[in-house]
Symmetry: C2
Subunit: 324 residues, 2 copies
């Protein structure tokens, strides 16, 4: 990542953190504490950054008016994480106990529901044209429904007796991860007064960027050392998860089911990786992610050349080079 982009992301994350702290630090009562728990536990604040960069690329200076909307996107992301953690039965996230573990399931459902409401409220606080704000709300609403569809599909994959193909995987990743990046970019564009062509291009940018992000997540699970990724290396393999890697492996005739064991050793994970590299699976999956990145960057060509557009391009490159 360029130093310049890194500075921008750090600065934005700091602003987001500060606003969230201010809003939630004197949160009254357990419910708001539960809503704030994961929100204040850090995170890269990438969706707010995408919203602000998109706005700035469309109309310089516009991002100052859109911090609330940017925060709204982070709240949306966090509400989905709180609810997903309940559904997936996950006990920790970002190094802290999940909300339903620290409190209980009913409180976690409500804590997510509160952030869901706040997300929409914060979008309405954007200093922008009224029609643009209505459009932004409609976009966020459609996106939230899509995220639910994506999560539902993902859960169905786990149970599925039938084999998932790459098309279905990419559809799921588009809904579960792509849609919110798409909405972040497009909402930034629409609130900044962008025209339909610009807003659509930003949507395509975010969608493709998000899918690439998701694919990279799957690669990280295999390849990155746990101290970097914060995850248990090879956990997807161990659980037989239907990732693009697993799907591509199957399509190339590889049988990964022998690795589907909770007691898989690091050596066996290494052997699996070697096997997947040998068969060209890792390269093929990387190519899909690179293709998404190229599409995302190409979409931005309708925007004027500027520093922020460059940042958006660099950001999506970072999405597939990161190891955490």
């Amino acid at each position: 990542m360029s130093e310049d982009l890194k500075d921008y992301l750090d600065k934005t994350a700091e602003q987001v953190d500060m606003m969230l702290e201010r809003y939630f630090s004197d949160a009254f009562g357990e419910l708001y504490k539960a809503s704030a728990h994961l929100l204040l536990a850090g995170g890269k604040r990438l969706r707010p950054a995408v919203l602000l960069l998109a706005a700035e690329a469309v109309r310089p200076g516009s991002s100052d008016d859109l911090m609330h909307a940017a925060i709204g996107l982070e709240m949306t992301h966090t509400f989905t994480l709180i609810h997903d953690d309940i559904m997936d039965g996950d006990a920790t996230r970002r190094g802290a106990p999940t909300v339903h573990v620290k409190w209980d399931e009913p409180t976690a459902i409500l804590a997510g529901d509160v952030l869901y409401a706040k997300a929409f409220e914060f979008i309405t606080h954007a200093v922008a044209d009224d029609r643009a704000r209505v459009k932004a709300v409609a976009m966020l609403a459609r996106t939230c429904a899509e995220i639910c569809e994506g999560q539902h599909q993902d859960m169905a994959f786990e149970k599925a007796e039938k084999e998932v193909d790459a098309f279905e995987y990419l559809e799921m990743a588009g809904k579960k991860t792509g849609a919110l990046y798409a909405a972040s970019a497009a909402i930034g564009g629409v609130l900044a007064g962008g025209n339909a062509v610009q807003v659509d291009a930003l949507y395509q940018y975010g969608m493709n960027a998000g899918i690439a992000f998701q694919i990279q997540d799957d690669l990280i699970d295999f390849i990155a050392p746990p101290e970097k990724s914060g995850k248990d290396r090879g956990s997807d393999l161990r659980e037989g998860k239907q990732t693009l890697i697993a799907i591509t492996a199957r399509e190339k005739g590889l049988n990964l089911s022998k690795y589907r064991r909770p007691d898989l050793t690091p050596e066996e994970v290494d052997r699996a990786i070697a096997e997947l590299k040998e068969a060209g699976v890792v390269d093929a999956v990387r190519r899909v992610a690179e293709e998404k990145v190229a599409t995302a960057k190409h979409a931005l060509t309708v925007l004027p050349e500027c520093k922020e557009r460059q940042h958006l391009e660099d950001l999506v490159e970072f999405f597939i080079s990161r190891s955490f």
Copy 2:
């Protein structure tokens, strides 16, 4: 209830049912089926009716443009029921299995989340001034957060070691039930182009009406025969629930804890009712509800006299005379 109001409510419910059927009948996939399940299982559609009546009272003819918004309020109500049923562990509602029983908990969380999104989307579909639509969205968002607060408070009451007082009870009822009626009326008013005084009056109407509705719910549990209420008579008593009746009884020095037994007989419920009537508890609770109704009706005096204002007045009278 007047025949005229009854006709209006029947006609509105029919329109709401028809629109929901059209939208969800060819719902694709299990997630949307789960979202539609409770929504299509009937219901009195009172919140859409309140929204449409409020709009019509502010500007005759406006309600035709607001069916989508009205449906949005019904979706909001239904999403809260789906999530509440999970939290409360209830297995049936409206004579049908609840969503988390018919499907599973993860699907029920998502099914509620989908309706939550659709509610906001439908508000944006209102044919109304852009600024009014932004206000309507902001109102709904604040209301959703309040409903969560109310449900959280209600759950806390169940566990509470400390005794709940009437003030806390009314605060909870205002958030859990009043807020959505308040939003229904106020959103109808704002989308119809009402001024701030009118919109505020409609909000007060709905808030007081909703609290009266909730108090009547508690009375019904005691007094109505189960074939009318669809509930097990005296269930609140049996469970020692902190209703306004229980709180008022305690404040009058009555000890209801002897009735807090799962094996309470109908004769014992009768004895409890006699005891509560004797001590003036039932009358005192009814007076609170009647006071709320009077306040609700008084708020409407800023609106022009018309058939719809009369309907709103009659409706809130019905709220505290109904036995189901």
